[in-house]
């Protein structure tokens, strides 16, 4: 839409901001830090963004939409519930886990700058429906109320992210692999299905694997 040159500046600022916010936090990153990392004059930031808050808001919103759109598209293209579940667990969850610092930022400072409500409810509903369909397909009666189901999803999702992040920062001997294998175990146990083994998440490059 805009000139190519301009959009690349905007994206450069966004990428560097995201990187620094994830690394040091929102408050510990100055606007001057961001432009230094991307070799642009300060003023430029205010051509593309209203203010510092707008940078974090945009980074979250754009990352999230890209991610969510892709999840939705991929799920729509996948005929079987089990396949959709495999997609979520094997493809999308690792991508989120690879970007754990930034997702955590979304869940902390981000909450002050974006409305995350809709986003979470849509994602929860999507996962919830996959879960329900899978249960139905497997001839199981869901013993959880809708609210319990959504709670379960939230606890597993946020718990996974947080476990990885805290373990990494605190130097615990728990990693992505352990969390992934635990999640698979839970799902395989709950639905009595067998999810295919996939390449370990560690092979996903940290900044390319996820748009969020």
């Amino acid at each position: 839409m805009a000139r190519e040159r301009d959009e690349s500046k905007r994206l450069g600022i966004l990428a560097e901001a995201k990187r620094l916010f994830a690394e040091r936090g929102f408050h510990a990153t100055s606007v001057q830090d961001i432009v230094k990392g991307v070799d642009l004059p300060v003023g430029t930031v205010y051509t593309y963004f209203q203010n510092k808050d707008d940078i974090i808001r945009t980074a979250i919103d754009e990352g999230w939409s890209q991610f969510y759109d892709e999840v939705e598209r991929a799920c729509a293209a996948e005929p079987s519930p089990a396949g959709r579940m495999a997609l979520i667990v094997d493809s999308f969850l690792p991508r989120l886990l690879a970007d754990v610092e930034f997702i955590s930022l979304i869940m902390s400072d981000g909450l002050r700058y974006t409305d995350i409500n809709d986003k979470l409810e849509r994602l929860g509903a999507l996962i919830g429906s996959v879960v329900n369909e899978l249960a139905r397909e497997r001839g199981m009666t869901v013993s959880l109320s809708p609210k319990q189901a959504i709670t379960a999803i939230a606890v597993f999702f946020l718990g996974s992210m947080d476990t990885i992040r805290v373990a990494r920062m605190a130097g615990l001997s728990l990693g992505e692999r352990d969390v992934m294998s635990f999640i698979r175990l839970v799902i395989e146990g709950a639905f009595r299905i067998s999810l295919p083994k996939v390449a370990p998440a560690e092979s996903v490059p940290p900044d390319a694997g996820s748009g969020s």
Copy 2:
């Protein structure tokens, strides 16, 4: 002979700092903000703490030890594994949940200022042993490896905290009650026991129920 160090001042600073850190984050809270809330001159802070970092570190460390010591004492006094599990779920988890903002601070900014490794490992080990004893008592074979077990505990623990925090901040219609009931469901399902119903956590005053 000189004026004596006034523990109530130290605690006042600590409490106000904890409150503000939880509310706005560490960086967004200035030392002047803290003293303003407790009506003390800036200099006083530096009589009781080395610097701003020392405030957060102390708040975390003291809160954590108080909490952990109490958990340990209560568990030691409780003869049956099921009783210990009930204690954790019905007494200690709600206390943590009541102080969710601050626990989250510990798990984010706090990681840069305290060594949380030991703390988490001790807590994980304690809960792990309760889980194991309960399983043994119930005549069950534990199908999880030790690492899977610790992962499970971390995911449930951190996921519960985070779900409540995010839901609260983002205005989702999920609450402490939902998370508690989910956790009970999981435990009752896993061990085929029935945990007694207790008073809802909401009745616990936010700042008195937990030293953490």
Copy 3:
């Protein structure tokens, strides 16, 4: 396109800083004092200098180079050793003496912020060579070892500066004129030459006569 760096601001800050440092010392002069004297907001200082140390360092380095370059140029343009000696004694020494407070600052606090080693060795070598050439021209054998010569130069140079400064600050009845006449006496006695009488140094305006 943006506003350009304003060299006059930089020089204004430098001049005011130099004045205040000389008057009260480095530690007793605050950055706010400096900007107050030159009617600029604090922040501006940090556009032109990295920090307070950088101000004193720059003041010393730039002043010294200006001074030294001029001495060197003038000496190179003067054919006879006696003429070079006269130049040093009658033109450059008075300029240093006129700026005695700041030179003293260089020799005290300055030593902690600049590398003065090179500067002094170059100046010492230059004066030393003038002394040697003059001695040779006058058919005298130098009875001082090189180290004794450099010591002599240092003692006379620093002693002159210090005598004037201390006398002025302590209110003694010794002045620039006395020190100058003593130095001339020593040189005239040592080399059996007669240095021309020049205008008294007091006529040199304190801040214009020397860049140092």
Copy 4:
């Protein structure tokens, strides 16, 4: 006069203050630094001294009187002018040189807190009279006016101190030994006498050799 215990505290504060002032300068040394080094409560300082200025003033005044009294007594006890000169050069000058940082402090910050006028004039007069007597004894006519003589003394004295101090701090390869040998050379040349060689000044312990 006061109780032994008290006087030792006062002297301890004075010694530590002198050490720190010489090392870091007056402004860079806090009162709390001083008491920390001597393990005394802050309040004590204000029992013995009116304020921080009073510490430096006292350190200078007491050190100076002790030193001057001793010089005067020793000179009075020494019958020959040459002996008095030897005393000054070989005994008292090295003691001052050993305490060069503090003497320099006297000559810089010290000038703002003490009246040094009298001290310098008395010392100058004493040295001046030794010089005169020695000249008379050697059958020489003094070719310097009284003011020139006092200037000469000041330049040599302050120049020696400063040369050593600057050389030491700037890392030049000039030392006490060089300065001492230069001073002897000048005196021996001027009076055609031979001063006895003495133990090198480096052997004088830095803090015991001088009361100043």
